[in-house]
Subunit: 413 residues, 2 copies
């Protein structure tokens, strides 16, 4: 490895094939944003879409916009673009509702396909809203199923012939550790189980190949590495072989075989549209296309390579420049086993992150002791990573994090 | 009744206490918009909210906006405003998800409170997505329940002691006919059943008093008379007496008792927040506040009075000016039994509506033969109703609707 200095990282930026994408984002001054793993930055084009959707469509064409602006097919149009990023066919994925709602649909559809089995395998330590969704579904179904919680290496052996569904997030939200989707899916299928993959932390930043893995169902958000905007609608994938046999239970008119016949009784749409429920939030959906379409035209191999190099650089810089401050790497050091985030443990993680944010480096903190730093290759530069590490060193050297204002808890709910 | 002429209706506009609200809307030129019962018009302030949400919040404060712009509490903040319009307490209603998703939550919560009963009473002819939602839930629960479909006058006698839930839309989407919410709710309670009211066609345009009626649950959209924007998130109401005992099954982190503790297992929030599921679509939600807050500060008695007078005027004008063209009133003539729309039957309803739209009068058509005209008192003038009736007469007199271009079916899905 060459000597790590600012000149070197500026050379990396000069040679960066993705560098021009940064110009397409509206980024704040004097901020290094390492939290794209939570909320992606804003593509400039998002504002133009919002203006057009409101002023030219809603205000001007009013109800006619469902046809003239084709609001009706936003779920499918965005779905095709997300599909291209996760190894799905164009008719296997739609953008709609929230991730948890879509997970409910996928889990219910999958359980119905395995009526004689009663176990869902999940990784309990991952982002817990997935657990909550499964627990709500299980209670609704009369507690005939149960979750078998298993952590990383325990997952493969936990998949036996009682298992109906393996429902996992492929990248761990705290550590960034990656599951082997192909291996786990193969094991699930070998045991007669189905898979539901939550791609929240991988879609748009890592190669995902659902169909090569023969995944059954998948869901994910569009507001992290797809830069769709705060709370932008999520996506749901159902492999074509399940179309027509797997039926999700949140049955609404957008998923009806003939929505405008206004028939009294539900008839499921034959294709991926059955995964739709009610009228989608058009403004959020339309705005999300800015980030999704930008990501869909970026070369994924370059995204993944830069993502890994940004993460490696940060790990090396923290090792080299902050070695004496007791940060413990919580993410895999090998980039092949890591998503696009790097996490460190520190006993004073909370005030350290608060101080870093005060100094303009935005990461986040997850109790009890994890500092998370996300690396979004479309708008982050190598020099940002260099500068972030220097600011981290400064916060530690000056003990800025000990100031009282960084030790009061922020109320978030 | 005074002589109906244009001078008379202009006098009505001059005396209209709500007239100034029209200035707060961004309305297209040369269009008379009688479809606010499907998608409300755009408040000018919506564009400013969109700009601020994107440029000042998402782009500038990024993830911090969840706190600094209080995105976290948008469901509650908007909920308090909708609550004031439907007779709910501030802590009994949140804005989140789509109407059908919220109906699923309310129905599931209600059925769980009546485990020994198996009938849901619904009006099958009303907007069918509510039927679809109930049918999806019933299938998921193993077909232990059934829907007892009943039309208007059949509803009270259909409520017996097998009934778990009466789930009705208070205003019929085709005819505008209004149910007596107090009477039906009282009958339901007398028989031990619970009620779920769908307020899509009443919220914001009619006085609704959920708590005076002792309603149990309610849902509704915000994109019709609340002018929240296309597909803007819906609301859900749960009477305070059910908080803590009624649990909806789409359990996500926003409905957890402690969302940021990231506990492995679900614990329901004790209050109305339990009705929340996942991360909401912030841009659509934020934009919706423009229309919701405007409606919340308009005097409801004046809204209802003008709504009724606009509808009466249109009925009288069609009677008087289009008497020979075979329109048959499909709505109650008595405004007290009518929501804020007027519907007519006509054998050539489809091309007539297409021609009207071509002439700049936007209503809509529902198969097989219904022309719907919605009256949104905050932006419609009496003179608009006058002019719409004259244009209808012109379309009929000239037989413009017979032109081939109005007889081809528009593809909407």
């Amino acid at each position: 490895m060459p000597a790590l200095n600012r000149a070197y990282v500026l050379e990396l930026d000069a040679a960066d094939a993705l560098a021009q994408f940064r110009n397409e984002f509206q980024l704040p001054d004097r901020v290094i944003y390492l939290n794209g793993n939570s909320l992606g930055a804003m593509p400039k084009h998002a504002m133009e879409i919002a203006r057009r959707t409101l002023m030219e469509e809603w205000a001007t064409d009013l109800i006619k916009s469902w046809n003239t602006a084709d609001w009706f097919h936003l779920p499918q149009r965005l779905g095709r673009q997300v599909a291209s990023l996760v190894g799905a066919a164009e008719d296997e994925l739609v953008v709609t509702d929230a991730t948890g709602i879509n997970l409910f649909k996928a889990l219910a559809a999958a359980l119905a396909l395995r009526p004689d089995r009663n176990v869902i395998v999940m990784e309990g330590s991952n982002f817990p809203t997935d657990n909550y969704t499964a627990q709500g579904l299980i209670a609704l179904l009369g507690n005939r199923h149960r979750i078998r919680f298993a952590e990383h290496d325990e997952i493969l052996p936990a998949i036996d012939d009682q298992v109906a569904v393996v429902a996992l997030t492929d990248v761990h939200y705290k550590t960034g550790r990656v599951h082997d989707m192909a291996e786990i899916t193969a094991r699930a299928h070998a045991k007669g189980a189905l898979t539901v993959w939550d791609l929240c932390h991988s879609a748009g930043v890592m190669p995902v190949d659902l169909n090569r893995c023969q995944a059954d169902f998948a869901v994910g958000c569009t507001y992290k590495y797809l830069n769709g905007g705060p709370g932008s609608p999520a996506f749901i994938f159902a492999a074509r072989r399940h179309h027509g046999t797997a039926t999700q239970p949140l049955t609404g008119w957008f998923g009806h075989a003939s929505p405008f016949a206004f028939e009294r009784d539900y008839r499921p749409a034959p294709g991926i549209e059955q995964m739709l429920s009610g009228t989608p939030p058009v403004v959020s959906l339309a705005v999300a296309e800015a980030g999704i379409s930008m990501t869909a035209r970026a070369p994924m191999a370059a995204i993944r390579e830069k993502s890994q190099r940004l993460g490696d650089l940060f790990i090396n810089l923290v090792d080299e420049h902050c070695g004496e401050f007791d940060f413990k790497l919580a993410s895999p050091r090998d980039a092949h086993h890591r998503g696009s985030q790097v996490s460190f443990l520190h006993a004073h993680g909370y005030p350290i992150m608060r101080a870093l944010i005060g100094w303009g480096v935005i990461g986040d903190f997850r109790a009890p002791d994890i500092l998370r730093f996300g690396f979004a290759p479309l708008y982050l530069r190598y020099v940002d990573v260099w500068d972030a590490a220097q600011i981290l060193r400064e916060v530690m050297e000056t003990e800025a994090w000990r100031r009282p204002e960084f030790n009061t808890r922020l109320s978030v709910t």
